[in-house]
């Protein structure tokens, strides 16, 4: 079964090291998303798996077979490219067929697969058109179709949706998800869009600077980010991160934020390695976890800071509180439950006791 395994991959372009000792396993039938900022090496990793770029060091196996030095066409993969990369002089049918006739399949089989893929992607009407005569969404479908007809076990997607408008992107997202559920193939999907990653993935591998920061389920990545990079990268608006000093007294443990003097009660936080009195940490607070107004929940911290400005997006409001530092604290809430404060007002906002994320200030890892 096609489990994809990268072991100790190193990739250098001349003197530039893009990937340093990267290991990653993609389970059979899994939908794995590679997520990371631009230039972190996602495409490079995918191209190496596809055989389009050489691996400097390390091995890649697919279903136990070492494919590190195999030709792209012999790896049993199909890839959907960011720019669609359709063959401009061929019709849609010609685009779908090209890879199949190269495999020397017989005509009936080719015809059957083309019909099947065209039906699945609803491009049956377009088979005799040239790519130039298609809309962006249709081209994207053809690009996916060209991969589907090859009937392989592993599909690679390199930011296939980034050229589409928001509405089409949502549609195609659902469509790809549906295809995955239907076909149960292994998918490696590259994106720098966290919504895509969160909605589609079984697991997400968050990359930065050629290093995998964390690989986990979307929930786990959101709830328990392994380090500050992941914490700040996932979530919108981004997580607030406050540098604070640990204070312990008996059983109680708290973090004090210097500039505002706010005390954050970490007694309920599940420390992996409990910090000592006086340690410096970074406490993460997601904007959407704040509670504005009165609450019955056990609160871990209360902020009464002046509002700098507010932003309204539909039913949500994000307000930015001045905590005496350069970065404002963003707080998101539903304006049905509380009136929108005006600038300068200092409404009390609460943070639940069990929602903190705490990171070591030096190593930036979760503690």
């Amino acid at each position: 079964m096609p489990q994809v395994e990268f072991s100790n991959i190193v990739k250098r372009f001349g003197r530039v090291t893009v990937l340093e000792d990267l290991s990653l396993t993609v389970q059979d039938g899994e939908f794995l998303v590679l997520l990371g900022p631009s230039g972190c090496g996602k495409t490079t990793l995918l191209n190496m798996l596809a055989g389009l770029q050489d691996v400097t060091e390390g091995t890649i196996t697919i279903g136990g077979r070492d494919v590190t030095d195999l030709d792209p066409k012999d790896r049993g993969l199909a890839m959907v490219f960011q720019s669609y990369a359709l063959y401009p002089t061929k019709t849609v049918r010609g685009n779908l067929k090209f890879g199949l006739s190269a495999q020397k399949l017989d005509r009936a089989e080719i015809e059957r697969r083309v019909t099947w893929a065209a039906g699945l992607l609803q491009i049956d009407q377009l088979l005799d058109r040239k790519p130039a005569q298609l809309s962006g969404g249709q081209r994207q479908r053809v690009a996916i179709g060209r991969a589907l007809v090859k009937n392989v076990d592993v599909f690679l997607f390199d930011e296939p949706l980034s050229n589409l408008d928001a509405k089409l992107r949502t549609e195609m997202r659902l469509e790809i998800k549906r295809l995955h559920q239907e076909l149960e193939k292994t998918i490696v999907f590259v994106t720098h869009d966290q919504v895509e990653a969160m909605t589609m993935a079984h697991r997400i591998a968050v990359m930065n600077g050629g290093v995998i920061q964390q690989i986990d389920t979307p929930d786990e990545i959101y709830e328990r980010p392994a380090n500050l990079f992941v914490a700040r990268f996932i979530g919108s608006p981004a997580m607030n991160t406050l540098a604070a000093r640990i204070e312990t007294s008996g059983q109680a443990i708290a973090a004090i934020h210097g500039p505002s003097g706010v005390r954050m009660d970490l007694s309920d936080y599940a420390f992996r390695t409990p910090p000592k009195h006086g340690d410096t940490v970074v406490v993460g607070l997601r904007p959407e976890h704040f509670i504005v107004g009165e609450t019955a929940e056990p609160t871990g911290a209360v902020f009464t800071l002046p509002v700098r400005y507010t932003e309204k997006t539909g039913s949500d409001v994000t307000m930015f509180l001045d905590n005496g530092e350069k970065d404002l604290i963003s707080v998101r809430f539903d304006h049905k439950h509380h009136h929108v404060p005006i600038t300068g007002e200092a409404p009390p906002v609460w943070f639940p006791k069990d929602r903190f994320d705490v990171f070591d200030a030096a190593s930036e890892r979760r503690i």
Binding site: P72, L77, M79, F81, Y87, G99
Partner: protein
Amino acid sequence: MSTQATTAATAAAGVRSKARKKKRISGSSITIMVFLTMCAAFVSVPLYVVIVTSFKTMDQIALGDVFALPTTWTIEPWITAWSEVCAGMTCEGVSHGFWTSMKILFPSLILSIGVSSVTGYALALWKIRWAGTFLFVLFLCAFVPFQIIMIPLVVLNSSIGLFGSIWAVAIVHSILAMPLLTLIFRNFYKDVPEEIVNAAIMDCGSFWRIFIEIILPMSANIMIVVLILMITTVWNDYLIGLTFGGVGTQPMTVILANTVITSFGAVKYNVDMAAALLTAIPPLVVYFALGKFFVQGITAGAIKG
């Protein structure tokens, strides 16, 4: 750029609402017009003389007014030039040279374009060891004047028994054209989007299938450019044809030259002019037939990725 800016500035300073509609002819565009007119005259005045002379009778030519229109139009000189005029000892007109040139042209085209398009494709889109070095060598080769390597080429040709045949001329043409054509093709193919090539490589690893099914159909524009370039060079060539062609295998240009220098009695200017025009017509036809694409071809190649 700066002249445009000044024009815009003066226009803005003038009547505001009308300034946009009225286009002034600035000094720079007048200069350009004059220059272009001079260029056109430089070519068209002699061309006019050649054309009218070819339709004149010898009697009128003897009067000496080269700019006058023919008093009696005659196509006699054209017929003579095509099938009767003497070049050296043979008197078969330039038609023989025409067919020889055709026989030289087609193998040269197929050989040079065939080899250099595949080489350019390989250099641009496949990982080739020493590709950079090879390109540099090609670049140098493209700028070596033919005259420098002429003598060694003659020796080489006679040692393999080709010298004096149509093939000798065709092969020399092809080989001399290859460095430049390969560079042209390589630069064109370098602009084929990488992902299309990657998709093709994943679909089908075959060098030739990708070339024939994907890359070649995308090359129409560059093919037209290269065709025009090659046809005009090969057809208008004199030196290679003279050096490598033997008796009876020399191209039309060489026959034309021989015709002009061979004369019995009075120089028949009208026949010479007709022969020259006959020789010049084929590239002209190519220009007219492909000329429309020529312009489109260049811009399409430059803009499209």
